[in-house]
Every structure is written in C-alpha cells, then in structure tokens.
Symmetry: C3
C-alpha cells in the first residue's frame, strides 16, 4: 500500500537530521522534530510532541529552544520563536511562531500562545491560558486558568490592538483582558473580571465593569493572615537565582504604586 509506506517512512524520519540538537537532550516516544530548530543542552522533549512546526515561510528563522527545557507530552512549538532556558510546559500546549520568551516560562496544560508576542522571565500560566497575537507580558506575571489576552477591538477586523501586562501582575481565573488594555505592574485582575484601558500599578480590578477596588496590599486571606503583595510570601516558589530579583522588583513596584497614590 502506498499510503502505508508514506506513514512508515515519516515515522522513521521523525527527527530531521539538519535540526541542531544540543548535548544530553532526551526525546520521548513518537516525537517529531523539524529541521529549522536549535535545541539547547539538557532539554527533555515529551512524548508525541512536535518541535519546530513549519510556517512554510521561506525566510523563517529557526526555533531556538534554550537549555534545560522540559516539554511535556503532545506539545506543539513552531519555528521562528526564541525561548529562554528552563522552559517548562504542561501537556497539549501550543506556542506559535514569532514569540520571544524569557527564562523559565511555565505553561499549564492546553495553553495557547498565539505568537508574535513578548513574554518576560519567570512567567507562569495555568490551564487554557490564551495569549493573543502581539501581547507583551512582563517578568514574573501570572495568568491563571481560562484567561484570554485579546487583540482585536472590533471583531473581526484587521485592527491589532494587543495588550500589555506589567511585571508581576496577576490575572486570576476566567479574567478577560480586552484589546488594548495596559495592566500596571503588580496589578491584580480578580477572578472573572474584565480589564479595559489602563490599570494603575498594584490596583485590584474586579467585576465585569473592571472597577478599581483598591490597592493589592489590602488583599488578605483572613484565616492565615497572609496578604498581598505576594512576593513577600511566595518568592520561595521560584528558582533560587530568581528570588533576589523578584524581591527587588516587588519593592520597586510598591514604591511606584505609593508614588501614584501620593500624587
């Protein structure tokens, strides 16, 4: 059967010999690696993942996947993106072309990074997080489950108005970030909230009208008396090399927010 031969052939060719593969790279079962790819040392590519998915553009730059990535099963990462070291993905993620991603991004299952976006260092996303094309995301940002960063203000149109998410902002479960929104550093978009326009540093945005309900330092978990800003009680969740940087950045953002309130 000709059709069957097609398949068997493809199976045997699943890692393109022109792909540049670093040292100590581990491949799972059934992985496909296309040719326009540079995989750093120490990466682990999970079962049934596809790395360097082609855009079929003649000028496409390679996927540059930094060292020590852990890519879990059924992931799809396109060519023409640049990803810093220590990427860690859940299962079934998609990262499209043209993304420029910093160090130690962690993606939840089923996250969808639509490409041509910028993502800082130590960003964390949970399941079904959706980053629309062209978004710019700072360092230490959190996008929880079912959050969407939109980009078309008049759907459907050719107008691109992607969002900007400041350093250390947290976007909680099922919050939606409208096209063109600029989320201030350290801001918190509450669960189910809709954020539009500009959000001040360290503001809490709540509800479908995106009301600014006060500064994040008033957000507290009563039983444990734990309160925001979160970097004070959560820096140990990051790799050691990130902690001093997180704490310094957190203090700078608090100073920015305090200055805004005093104006």
């Amino acid at each position: 059967m000709v059709a069957e031969n097609h398949g068997v052939q493809a199976m045997q060719n699943f890692i393109d010999p022109v792909a540049k593969i670093g040292r100590n790279v581990k491949f799972g079962h059934g992985v496909r690696v296309y040719g326009n790819v540079e995989i750093g040392d120490g990466c682990t590519i999970g079962d049934l993942s596809v790395i360097g998915y082609p855009t079929y553009r003649p000028e496409a730059s390679p996927l540059v996947l930094g060292a020590n990535a852990t890519v879990r099963s059924h992931a799809v990462i396109y060519e023409s993106s640049t990803i810093g070291p220590y990427l860690e993905t859940g299962h079934h993620v998609v990262i499209r072309e043209g993304a420029v991603i910093g160090e130690n991004l962690r993606l939840g299952n089923f996250s969808d990074i639509e490409g041509s976006c910028e993502i800082g260092d130590f960003v964390r996303m949970h399941s079904y997080a959706h980053v629309g094309k062209g978004a710019r995301i700072g360092d230490f940002v959190w996008l929880f489950s079912l959050t969407t960063l939109m980009n078309d203000p008049l759907p459907p149109s050719h107008i691109a108005d992607p969002v900007i998410i400041g350093d250390m902002a947290t976007v909680c479960v099922n919050a939606q970030i409208m096209p063109g929104a600029v989320i201030g550093r350290g801001a918190m978009i509450a669960s189910g909230a809709v954020a539009r326009g500009s959000t001040p540093a360290c503001a809490v945005i709540s509800g479908p009208d995106g009301e600014n309900v006060g500064p994040t330092r008033f957000v507290m978990h009563m039983q444990s008396r734990t309160r925001h800003p979160w970097y004070k009680h959560f820096s140990d969740a990051y790799p050691e090399r990130a902690r001093d940087r997180l704490i310094a950045l957190g203090a700078a953002i608090e100073a920015e927010a305090a200055a805004l309130l005093n104006e």
Copy 2:
C-alpha cells in the same frame, strides 16, 4: 513481550488500506487513518492526527473530507461526518460524528465540535470554541475563543434544545449561547455576554442578561474610525471566491435589519 508486539503492530498499520485516499495527499508523522474514510485530493494531514475515529456503529457512514484540507497536528476527526473543501484546523481539535460542514471552515486550537451539527461555508472559530450537539451555524459566522453553544436547557436531561446561529453573526470571546437561542443574521454577541431566546438581525447583545444595546452599525473603533458591519472592511480576509458572496449577503442582512427597525 506480548504487550510490545501489540504496539509495534499497531504502528505499522496506521493507515488502513481500505481508506480511500485522494491524489497528492500528504501525511505527517504518526498519523492514524481508519478505514471508513474518504480523503479528497490535495489534503495535508498533520502529525499525530487521527482521521475517521470509529463510532463503533455498524451502519456508520464514512468521513468524507473535502479536497485541499489542512489538518494541523494532534487533530481528531470522526467517521460519519461530511466536510467541504478547504477545511483548515488548528492543533488538537476534535470534530465528532454526524457533522455536516461547508466549505473552508477554519478552526482554532482546541476547538470541540460535538457532532450532529450543521456548519455553513466560510465559518471561523478561535481557540476553545465549543459547538454543542445539534447546533446549526450559518455561513460566514465567527465564534471567538471560549464560546460555548449549549443544548441542554435543564442539565442534565434528555431534552435537546440546540442553538441556531444566523449567517455572519459574530460571537465574541467568552460569550455563552444558552440552549435554544436563535441568533439573528449579522448579530454580534459581545465579549462575555450571555444570549438567550431570539436575537434580531444585526443586534448587539451585551452583558450577562443579554441586553440588546442597539444595532451593529453603531459599533465603531474610534481611533481608526472603522465600523461595523464588518464585511465592508474585512472581506479581503476571505478567499477571493467568497468575497462577492459575502458582500451580497451582508447587504441583504442589512436590508433585513433595516426592515425590522421600520416595522
């Protein structure tokens, strides 16, 4: 090992020799094609996809996949559906059995078409769009990310009350269409809105109570002075063969909406 043999055998048989495969069909790596399948000429089946997933019904009709489809990786398409030419899917999509789909459907990553539905020509869906069983979707419809077309009015029950989405309607990010809703042609269900009951042609439906906030022609993007109806500034996003049809349909729908307002 018996277990290991199981696997190796399956690998070698992954394109069933009784499947009808057209000319110039390209298969990625690790694809499985079941037997009850007719794949048109010029299709591309992405890596690790499964085509013709069996329903195990003895009378199951074949999957008829029209010519020139582009199916991206990790897709699942069942037997017993009929899909027009130029299907284009994202990654990790599911299309269940019993769907009757027109020309040039485009599906975002992780879309879920639950089957026994009708989808017109040139429909576009974004990530995590979910089409409940039995939905009827017109031509040139848009379903953006995280939209759900429901069908059970008293969950859980045996009552099926699927939705109808008129031609050229747009359902924006995270909007939910309640069971039995009938969305008028050219209507716009705003981001986060919940639509119930009947929606007039070219109405804008907004908020959790599904308020009709006016006609789509008042929806405008201020900075660019671009306004709805969208077909006037967006027809070039479609294949050339679709454009005259889109423009004529758009004009007819505007006339329908104007007549409704004059009544």
Copy 3:
C-alpha cells in the same frame, strides 16, 4: 544520526515490559505505556495516549487503572493515581498523579484533573472542565464545560483551600467554584455563576455574586414540563447497576434539603 536513533529506539519500546497489563487489553496506534502501571482487564487505550506518565518521584506508587476503561486518543494519565472500573474519557484529557477516582468517571474532551483529588462514582464532566488540586467530588456529580474548581484563595500563594462538591451537585457551563467553597448535595450552580462559601443542599446558585435563588425543585423546563431534581427523569442515562443507588441517594438528598428548610 544519533538523534534519529534516539527516536526509533523509543518508538520500539513504547510499552514498557514491566507494566502490568490485564487480559483483553487493546492498544491503539502510537500509545506509550510507562512501567509503573497496572491496567485492568478489558481496557481500551486510544491512539497516541500516554499512560503512567512519570512524576520522577522515587516512591511513586503505580497508576492503577480499573477494568474496562475506554481511554480515547491523545489522553495523558499519570502514575500514582487509582481509577475505578469503567473509566471513559474523551480526547486530549489529562489526569495527574495522586487522584483517587471511583467507578465509571466520564471525562469530556480537554478536561484537566490536576491531581491529589478525590472523585466519587459515576461522575460526569464535559469539555474543558478543570479540577484543581485537592478537590473532593462526591458521587453522581456533573461538571459541565468550562467549569473550574479553584484552590488558591490568594493567588499566587502556598495556601491550599480546595473545594468540596457534594453528591449529585451540578455545576453548569462556565460556572466557577471559588477556593474553599463547599457545594451542598444536589445543589445546582447555574451557568456562569460564581459559587463561594457554603451552599445548602438542593440550592440553586446564580450570577456573579452567587445568590441562592431557591431550591432546585422549582427549576423546570416549561415546554416539556420536565423539572428538577434530575434523577427522576435521567436515571436511565446511567448503567443499570447505578440506577437504584442514584434514586435512593436522590431521595435522601431531597429529605436533607426539606429538613434544612423546615429548621
């Protein structure tokens, strides 16, 4: 090519010979089964699934997958979970480690069970249902599409406050269950609602503020004059062995709710 050898080797080893595989187990195409796994008799493992995904913890207990499971394609199930008989999954699901799951769980496409949770018997979930770590879910519960069971009350923090969902509760499309919520038996969280705190048995919770709008027995589908509680008209949707149990449990929960109202 060394890289190519890596791949081919992995392909041939995709069912680990130390995995314990029951009788009459069927494997699809391209499945990977890791070693720390016990698969019961009569299971069917769909194409391109990964079973027993390792946690890389030295003390990890095996995945125990009960008899007669139907796992559909592209599923991922970790080691260290225990799953009762007659599991039935959609496509692209993820079940993490540490889950203790009863009989005949049915999961929709793209569901995400984050692990260390308890799930009772005969639970049903639809697409994109997301069970946060540590959740406890009773018997005969329904989680419809896009529902999230959260667990961090001060995101991001180390505080874990998972939810509890009582027997026979229904969580409708796009409803969100806030951290620490305790949903009473037989309660109904309406589509789009947000549930916080404690919900009485058989209460209907509606809207973003989680208002208790009355008992479920007042919820009716007018045209068909079908009404809640749903077990009275829907027990035939379950396997025969479950029906008497469902009906007895439903009556007990109604008595509990009536007693609450009379207090």
